[in-house]
C-alpha cells in the first residue's frame, strides 16, 4: 500500500472523529454543523511544512498523538479550583471542551445579552448561528477550522443587542483538566449589533502535565458602530497543543480590538483574521508572545481591508527564551476598493537567550493606489544604550535588564481595557522577565 502525503493526518482526523460522543439527535444544529464540516474535511489535505502557511510549524508531534477521547467529561481529575483564573464579571466555562454549568455565571449580563447554548438553540436561533459559522474566517480550506466544527460538542452564541453597552466583561474560560489524552474544540460566536459595546476575554488554561489538543474557534460579527474588545490569553499546559482561530467582520464605524497573549502550549498556532466589510472602520490586532524551553508559537494574522477609509494598527511583540521558536506572518491586504486606508504593522522580537529562533514575515499586498501602509520587523537583544540609562540611575545590571524586558512586553498589555487582566498579565510578564534575566546572567 502506498502511503500518500498527509495520510497520517487523515488517520489523525479519523481517529478524532471516531472518538466523538454520539449526539442524541441526528437532526439538530450540532449534527448539521458536524455533517457539513465532515464534507469539507473530506476534500482537504493535511497541512505539512511544505505548505507556505506552515513552513516553520511542524505538526507531526500532534499527528502522532493517540487520543483517548474527545471532550472528556471527566472533570474531576487534576481539577484544582485554586488554579482556575480569576473570573472577570460574567463567566462561561468549558471544561475539557464541555460547558460546565457549575463554573458558569452570567447573571451580571443576563438582562442585557442573549446567551444561547448551541444545544438549546431554537430553530430560528439555529438558523442564525448557521448563517454565521465559518463566515468570519477567510480560510475556507482551513483543516483546523473544520475540525473544530466536526468535533463540535456544544457552543455559545453571545448576541449583544442594538445600543447595548456592557460594562462587565464576559470571560470565557477553556479549562483542560483531564488526565486522559484528549481533544477539545470549544466554539463561540459573538454578534454585536449596531452601536453595542462589549469586552470578551477568552482564556485557555491547562494543568502542567496534561497532554491535549485545544482548538478553540471564536467568531465576531460587528455591525455598524459596534465596539468589541477581544483579549485572548492562551495559557495551555506546556505539554499541550493549541491551534486557535479568531475571525472578525467589521462593518461601518465598527471598532474591533484584538489582543492575543500566547504563554503556554508546546506548540501553539493562532490565526487572527479581521475583515473590513464596509467603508470606514478601525481594528487593532495586537499580540504578545512569551515563550521559553522548547516551545514553538506561531501567529498568523490577516487584516483584510476590502473597502475605503479603514484604519488598522498592529503591534506584535515576542520574547523568546531558551530554545524556543517564534513564527509570525502578518498579512495586510488592501484591496482595489480600499482607497484611503491607513494601516501599520510592527513586529518586534526580543531574544533572551542565544538558542532562540525567530521567523518573521510581514506580508503587505496592496492593490489600491491611495493608501498609507507601513510595517517594520526587528529581532534583537536589549539595547546597551538603554541599559546604560537605567544603570546611570543607580539600578544594578539585573534590575535594569528586568525592567527593560518588562517594558518591552508591557507596551502591548497597557492598552487592555480591563484592569484586573492587565494586572494579572503584568505579573506574568514580570515573572518571565525575572527568570529569563537570571538564566541569561548565569550562563
Amino acid at each position: 500500500m502506498v502511503q500518500t502525503k498527509g495520510s497520517r493526518m487523515d488517520i489523525f482526523i479519523n481517529s478524532l472523529l471516531d472518538k466523538r460522543s454520539a449526539l442524541g439527535s441526528e437532526s439538530g444544529l450540532i449534527a448539521s454543523v458536524r455533517k457539513s464540516a465532515e464534507q469539507s474535511l473530506s476534500k482537504l489535505r493535511s497541512p505539512q511544512t511544505n505548505d507556505e502557511e506552515w513552513r516553520f510549524t511542524n505538526l507531526k508531534s500532534i499527528y502522532r498523538i493517540e487520543f483517548d477521547e474527545v471532550h472528556s467529561s471527566d472533570s474531576t481529575i487534576l481539577f484544582d479550583r485554586t488554579n482556575i483564573p480569576e473570573s472577570e464579571g460574567a463567566f462561561i466555562t468549558f471544561v475539557n471542551g464541555v460547558i460546565d454549568s457549575t463554573l458558569t455565571d452570567v447573571s451580571k449580563v443576563q438582562a442585557k445579552v442573549n446567551i444561547v447554548q448551541f444545544s438549546d438553540a431554537t430553530e430560528s436561533e439555529s438558523k442564525t448561528i448557521t448563517t454565521h459559522l465559518n463566515t468570519h474566517m477567510s480560510h475556507e480550506d482551513d483543516v483546523f477550522l473544520h475540525l473544530n466544527s466536526a468535533l463540535l460538542n456544544d457552543g455559545i452564541w453571545l448576541d449583544i443587542p442594538k445600543n447595548v453597552v456592557l460594562d462587565t466583561p464576559i470571560h470565557i474560560r477553556f479549562l483542560n483538566t483531564s488526565k486522559a489524552t484528549h481533544a477539545s474544540a470549544p466554539r463561540v460566536l459573538v454578534t454585536a449589533a449596531e452601536h453595542s459595546k462589549a469586552v470578551i476575554i477568552e482564556e485557555s488554561v491547562g494543568y502542567e502535565e496534561s497532554v491535549y489538543l485545544n482548538i478553540p474557534v471564536l467568531e465576531f460579527d460587528l455591525k455598524r458602530g459596534a465596539h468589541v474588545t477581544h483579549v485572548k490569553i492562551q495559557n495551555d499546559s506546556k505539554k499541550a497543543f493549541h491551534i486557535g482561530r479568531v475571525g472578525a467582520t467589521v462593518a461601518r464605524d465598527g471598532h474591533y480590538e484584538s489582543y492575543s497573549i500566547q504563554l503556554g502550549a508546546a506548540i501553539s498556532r493562532n490565526d487572527v483574521v479581521a475583515t473590513q466589510s464596509e467603508e470606514q472602520m478601525f481594528a487593532t490586532l495586537d499580540g504578545l508572545v512569551l515563550i521559553g524551553g522548547d516551545q514553538l508559537s506561531d501567529t498568523h494574522t490577516l487584516m483584510d481591508h476590502r473597502k475605503a477609509f479603514g484604519e488598522s494598527h498592529q503591534l506584535h511583540k515576542v520574547l523568546v527564551d531558551g530554545q524556543a521558536t517564534s513564527v509570525f506572518n502578518g498579512k495586510i491586504f488592501v484591496r482595489q476598493d480600499a482607497q484611503k486606508v491607513n494601516s501599520y504593522q510592527e513586529n518586534r522580537n526580543l531574544l533572551m537567550s542565544n538558542e532562540g529562533t525567530v521567523h518573521t514575515k510581514p506580508q503587505l499586498e496592496i492593490f489600491a493606489d491611495d493608501v498609507k501602509c507601513s510595517h517594520g520587523a526587528t529581532i534583537g537583544q536589549l539595547v546597551p544604550e538603554e541599559l546604560f540609562y537605567l544603570k546611570s540611575r543607580g539600578l544594578d545590571d539585573r534590575s535594569s535588564r528586568e525592567l527593560l524586558t518588562q517594558a518591552f512586553a508591557l507596551e502591548v498589555i497597557e492598552h487592555i481595557p480591563v484592569e484586573s487582566v492587565r494586572d494579572r498579565l503584568a505579573h506574568v510578564v514580570s515573572e518571565f522577565a525575572h527568570h529569563s534575566v537570571i538564566e541569561a546572567l548565569t550562563v
Binding site: F388, S392, L395
Partner: protein
C-alpha cells in the same frame, strides 16, 4: 571633587579623547564647549561609565576614588548623575515607579532607609515644583511620547530626586524652546550648592545666559585647548570655534 588626568579614550579603536585634563571642585559649575565631534559628549559619558568607550591612558578620580574601576550603577550610587541628550523611553513603566526605584537603589547602596510609596509621593511632589510639572507626568510611562522639552525636564526631575554630588549635563539645552530652557535652567540653578558640582556640555552659549558657569573649557579634537571664565563663552559666540581651532593648530604646529 573630580580630577581628570591625561585621559585618552577610544571607541571602536578610534581615538576620541587625547590627553584631557580637568579639575572640578565642589560648589563649581563648569561648562564644556566645542565644535561637533570634539569629544564633549564622550567625556561625560566616560565619566558616567558608558560601556562603548575604552580608556587607554590616564585616569578619573572622584572624591579620591578611581571611577574607572566602578560600574555605571556604582558611580550613580556614589552621586554621579548624567542627564542624557536622548533620554530612553520605557513604555509600561510609570515615571513614579521608575523614580522611586532609582532613588531607593541609591539609598540602599548608601545604607539609607528606602522610601515607601507614600513617603516617596510627598518627596517627589516637592521636587516637581522645581521643574513645573503637574501630577499627570508621574503617571505616564517614562519618557514615552514625551516631547523633547518634557524629556529634558524629566531628566532634571531625576537629578532633583537623586540629589547627586556631580551632575553631568549632556546638551541638556538642545531642542528646548525658550520657556523650557528657562525652566530647566532654573532647576539646575536651584539644585546647585556649595556641596555639589555641575559639568555641562553645550554647543551654544545660550544656556550659559541662564546657568552662569564658574569656568568654561573649550574642547577641540579630544583635548581642552582653552579654559577661562564665563567671558570665554561670549568670546566664542562672537568669534566662532575656528578661532580656537586655529589657536590649537598653531599650538600643535609649534610642538
Amino acid at each position: 571633587m573630580l580630577v581628570i588626568k591625561n585621559l585618552h579614550a577610544t571607541i571602536d579603536d578610534k581615538p576620541v579623547l587625547r590627553g584631557l585634563n580637568l579639575h572640578v571642585n565642589a560648589g563649581e559649575v563648569h561648562a564644556i564647549m566645542g565644535p561637533n565631534g570634539s569629544g564633549k559628549s564622550t567625556l561625560v559619558k566616560i565619566i558616567a561609565g558608558h560601556p562603548s568607550y575604552e580608556v587607554t591612558d590616564g585616569g578619573i578620580m572622584y572624591n579620591g576614588v578611581n571611577l574607572l574601576e566602578l560600574e555605571p550603577e556604582e558611580r550613580a550610587q556614589m552621586g554621579v548623575f548624567m542627564a542624557f541628550q536622548y533620554p530612553v523611553e520605557i513604555p509600561g513603566v510609570s515615571n513614579m515607579s521608575f523614580l522611586r526605584q532609582s532613588v531607593n537603589a541609591v539609598r540602599k547602596a548608601n545604607s539609607i532607609e528606602e522610601l515607601d510609596p507614600i513617603e516617596f509621593d510627598d518627596f517627589v511632589r516637592e521636587k516637581m515644583k522645581l521643574v513645573e510639572m503637574d501630577d499627570e507626568f508621574l503617571h505616564r510611562s517614562v519618557n514615552t511620547g514625551f516631547s523633547g522639552g518634557e524629556k529634558k525636564r524629566n531628566e532634571i526631575l531625576q537629578m532633583a530626586v537623586l540629589e547627586p554630588k556631580l551632575s553631568l549635563l549632556d546638551e541638556t539645552d538642545s531642542g528646548l524652546d525658550i520657556d523650557a530652557l528657562r525652566i530647566v535652567a532654573k532647576g539646575i540653578n536651584e539644585l546647585s550648592n556649595e556641596n555639589n558640582a555641575v559639568l555641562m556640555v553645550t554647543h551654544y552659549q545660550r544656556l550659559l545666559n541662564y546657568v552662569v558657569p564658574d569656568k568654561v573649557h573649550v574642547l577641540v579634537d579630544g583635548k581642552i585647548v582653552k579654559s577661562g571664565g564665563k567671558e570665554l563663552a561670549l568670546e566664542l559666540e562672537e568669534k566662532g570655534y575656528e578661532w580656537v581651532e586655529e589657536n590649537n593648530y598653531q599650538l600643535n604646529g609649534s610642538n
